[in-house]
């Protein structure tokens, strides 16, 4: 376990040494932003809207006391969405989509000698291939968290108002009531940390693939599993640190 962490840290160090020109990274960064960020908007939107809706319905179903005002439902939807769903839950979903993609891509490049081809040309393959992915994840995950937060609250609004659980006025009142802007900041910080963990852990798994197609599959699975575990541990630590 310790040796794996050591190799992971050495791998991270390799990303920042012997870099290529900024021009090279810029083009790859834009490509990766599209691959990692833009292509994830659809799944993030779907998940966020439905989770927001479910939280609204479930909260209302469990808040049966007449002394609790109804706007508390949207209050809870807001805080759950901002603090956990838009960052942690979304990143667990992205660990599956983005993490397996990164590990699969790099693993295939490794076993088909494409990474060796880069090394032979004198290019730092780890930096050339992984650094743009890391930067793209760190840049796009917070944007996805903001989209997810907005759509989660919107999903709650749709479910609440269309099913008659809560009036639009009460929902909006609850959203505004005792709002702590710092929670948005927490969500963004979390998304940045999770983006870093998911992209680097998945790249580490893919980059160190040995063997054939079977091992590429195993690397993808390990990437998702390890990324999810790292996200959950980091989530707890950040919760302790920021709240």
């Amino acid at each position: 376990m310790l040796s794996v962490i050591g190799r992971y840290l050495i791998f991270l160090g390799k990303l920042f040494t012997r870099r290529e020109s900024l021009k090279v990274y810029w083009k790859r960064f834009i490509d990766e932003c599209i691959g990692i960020g833009v292509s994830s908007v659809f799944i993030v939107a779907i998940v966020a809207v439905f989770i927001g809706a479910v939280v609204c319905v479930q909260t209302r179903a469990n808040l049966v006391s007449p002394v609790i005002p109804v706007y508390v439902v949207s209050n809870i939807v807001r805080d759950m969405t901002l603090l956990e769903l838009s960052s942690t839950f979304m990143c667990v979903v992205l660990a599956g989509k983005v993490g397996s993609n990164i590990a699969g891509e790099l693993g295939t490049m490794k076993i088909t000698e494409q990474i060796d081809a880069l090394e032979v040309m004198g290019i730092n393959s780890a930096s050339y291939l992984v650094l743009p992915k890391l930067l793209a994840a760190v840049f796009t995950f917070p944007l996805l968290a903001i989209i997810s937060g907005f759509l989660g609250i919107f999903g709650g609004y749709l479910a609440g108002t269309l099913s008659g659980i809560i009036t639009p006025e009460d929902y909006i009142y609850g959203i505004r009531y005792s709002f702590i802007p710092f929670n948005v900041f927490i969500s963004i910080i979390k998304a940045i940390v999770f983006g870093f963990l998911i992209s680097t852990i998945s790249a580490f798994q893919g980059y160190n693939t040995r063997g054939g197609a079977l091992e590429v599959g195993q690397a993808s699975t390990s990437a998702v599993t390890n990324s999810c575990i790292a996200v959950l541990i980091a989530d707890y630590l950040l919760a302790e640190l920021l709240t």
Partner: protein, 250 residues
């Protein structure tokens, strides 16, 4: 000229290369032959520093490849072209982009100049007009040709080919061999080919090194290989039915 000196490499206590030395001269096509698992590809990876040997060194025109800073190494790497076994073409790039890639990364050439160079290399390997196709849209033989075009695009001094005939039909294999030989002669470069294909051995082997269980057992050329009497080499060469019948005079 490439000189390898006393290269030894083991994996998990299994000796894969045992004190292998040799010289590969400029303008010659040198072949490293041997059965599967004898350490040919590991030797190539040691020469390219993709695998660092436990002992020994590789000299490129007298420059030690394992000593020196990254910039020195990069200078030597820029003089190398490598054809990998499966071509190792980048899946996400077109044939043209694959060949142009080293120029993009390692030179300051203008777009027009790069395009001309890529066209020249495509023409050299007989693939004019295929620049816009993706690697997944071309055959195995074409992939090898594109791999060769990418290997020569930087005007290398040293060309390495790892099993250039693997997975190809005999006719395409011969064409690839001829292409490697032609490039070596025309550009006067040092070419090292890893192979176990006897057609290649007999047709393009200016110099041949035979590896057996990680050791260099024999060195010669395509003229002398048939007459030598190293048992392991005989077994390797004459397991080919046609050659065996030829030797028996049938």
């Amino acid at each position: 000229m490439i000189e390898i000196k006393n290269i030894s490499k083991s994996f998990n206590d299994r000796m894969v290369l045992d004190n292998v030395s040799g010289v590969f001269k400029k303008g010659e096509t040198s072949l490293v032959i041997g059965a599967s698992g004898t350490g040919k590809s590991v030797l190539l990876k040691c020469m390219l520093d993709l695998v660092r040997p436990e002992a020994g060194t590789t000299l490129y025109n007298g420059r030690d490849f394992y000593i020196g800073d990254e910039e020195d190494k990069k200078d030597i790497r820029r003089e190398m072209g490598v054809l990998f076994q499966g071509g190792a073409l980048f899946d996400s790039k077109t044939v043209h982009e694959n060949i142009q890639f080293p120029l993009d990364m390692l030179t300051e050439m203008g777009e027009g100049e790069k395009k001309d160079r890529v066209e020249f290399c495509l023409q050299k390997v007989g693939l004019e007009g295929t620049g816009g196709r993706m690697p997944s849209e071309i055959s195995g033989g074409m992939k090898k040709r594109v791999g060769i075009a990418r290997a020569i695009v930087m005007n290398p001094k040293y060309l390495f080919c790892d099993e250039p005939n693997s997975g190809l039909d005999p006719l395409t294999s011969i064409k690839i061999d001829e292409l490697i030989k032609e490039i070596t002669d025309e550009f006067d470069i040092t070419t090292v080919v890893i192979t176990h294909d006897m057609n290649s051995v007999l047709s393009i082997g200016d110099k041949i090194m035979f590896l057996h269980k990680g050791k260099k057992l024999w060195e010669g050329n395509s003229q002398t290989i048939m007459g030598d009497t190293v048992p392991e080499l005989e077994e390797f060469v004459f397991c080919n039915k046609a050659l065996s019948l030829m030797r028996a005079g049938k």
